[in-house]
């Protein structure tokens, strides 16, 4: 059983909490998904509507482990300060560290990411870095003390699935001992199943559930897909071939010509 900073999770589906049509649908979708980890963020609060307070009660009622993010941060200082604020509010050492480097793709700034990870881990944070599938960056994040990596499948919110299969397979093969969570880009349950079939340890899904026509139904579909993919990986998928291989035995076939 893989451990995420010492925590065993029975579900390998992690969910984001943004972009749902309503708080009630968010709650129902998270419950149906079976996820034990949900990502949350921090935004400006107003004394007039206290929207954040209402959201926080919903999350607490769900009883999930929260994974605060530093979404939208574009510098090391911004990410580190946001991390401090998140720990103060959420009371967890867990942090999904994002340092965004490019606006069109929301690609991580991997240089800033490594630097911020090093600072935060020295301060006791347990960092889940949102990174690319780059092997060298992955190694440097692990050198910095990261014990989980979150490589992207494709750009955040794009729903395009696993863009660089070769790179993701290489990442899995090079670092067999570290939990890897595919974060970003998964659009449909088959993408999630594929990630699990490749040996990834979990997937983090937000938009694909929240923006589905029926988010609760889609949460259930993702839950089943992640389970199926994990079972398939454990069962050992067959080797692929370039040519056909008859599945029905040829020996003993009648001569009818």
């Amino acid at each position: 059983m893989r451990r995420f900073y010492g925590v065993e999770l029975s579900s390998r589906l992690m969910v984001g909490t943004a972009r749902f049509p309503s708080p009630a649908i968010l709650s129902q979708a998270v419950r149906v998904s079976g996820a034990e980890v949900a990502t949350v963020s921090l935004r400006r609060e107003s004394g007039a509507d206290r929207a954040g307070q209402a959201f926080w009660s919903i999350i607490r009622e769900l009883g999930v482990r929260v994974l605060p993010n530093t979404a939208g941060c574009r510098s090391v200082k911004e990410a580190v300060t946001t991390a401090h604020m998140a720990r103060d509010v959420f009371g967890t050492k867990w942090l999904k560290l994002e340092v965004i480097g490019e606006d069109d793709t929301l690609q991580p700034d991997v240089f800033g990411l490594v630097e911020a990870a090093r600072i935060l881990i020295a301060e006791g944070f347990e960092v889940f870095p949102y990174t690319t599938e780059d092997l060298v960056v992955a190694g440097k994040l692990m050198d910095a003390g990261c014990q989980v990596l979150m490589p992207w499948g494709s750009p955040i919110g794009s729903g395009r699935g696993l863009h660089n299969l070769f790179g993701l397979k290489a990442l899995r093969a090079h670092f067999p001992g570290i939990p890897l969570v595919i974060d970003a880009g998964i659009g449909v349950p088959s993408h999630a199943a594929q990630a699990m079939e490749l040996g990834f340890d979990a997937v983090l899904i937000n938009t694909a559930i929240a923006r589905a026509r029926d988010p609760v139904g889609m949460a259930e579909a993702f839950s089943a897909a992640v389970e199926a993919g994990m079972l398939a990986y454990n069962a050992g998928p067959m080797e692929t071939r370039e040519m056909a291989a008859p599945s029905t035995p040829v020996i003993g076939k009648a001569f009818l010509t």
């Binding site: 943004a18 609060e45 004394g47 307070q53 926080w56 604020m85 103060d88």
Partner: protein
């Protein structure tokens, strides 16, 4: 004196504490994180932090995130 909270100008008594300013803004007892002029201020320290004219305060709360 005037301070800037989440980008908006607010009036608070001279030498108000950060905790006092939050109370006045209707955020006393709220689950929030604070930063003063770009630097994090822990919730436990807010009562000891005295504000000055023109200070910039960020008050953040839990919000939906991916």
């Amino acid at each position: 004196m005037k301070i800037i909270v989440n980008g908006d100008v607010h009036d608070v008594p001279a030498a108000a504490s950060l905790a006092g300013a939050l109370e006045q803004l209707g955020l006393g007892g709220a689950v929030v994180a604070t930063a003063l002029n770009g630097e994090f201020v822990a919730s436990a320290a807010r009562g000891k932090v005295t504000l000055s004219e023109g200070d910039r305060i960020e008050v953040l709360a839990p919000m939906q995130g991916g």
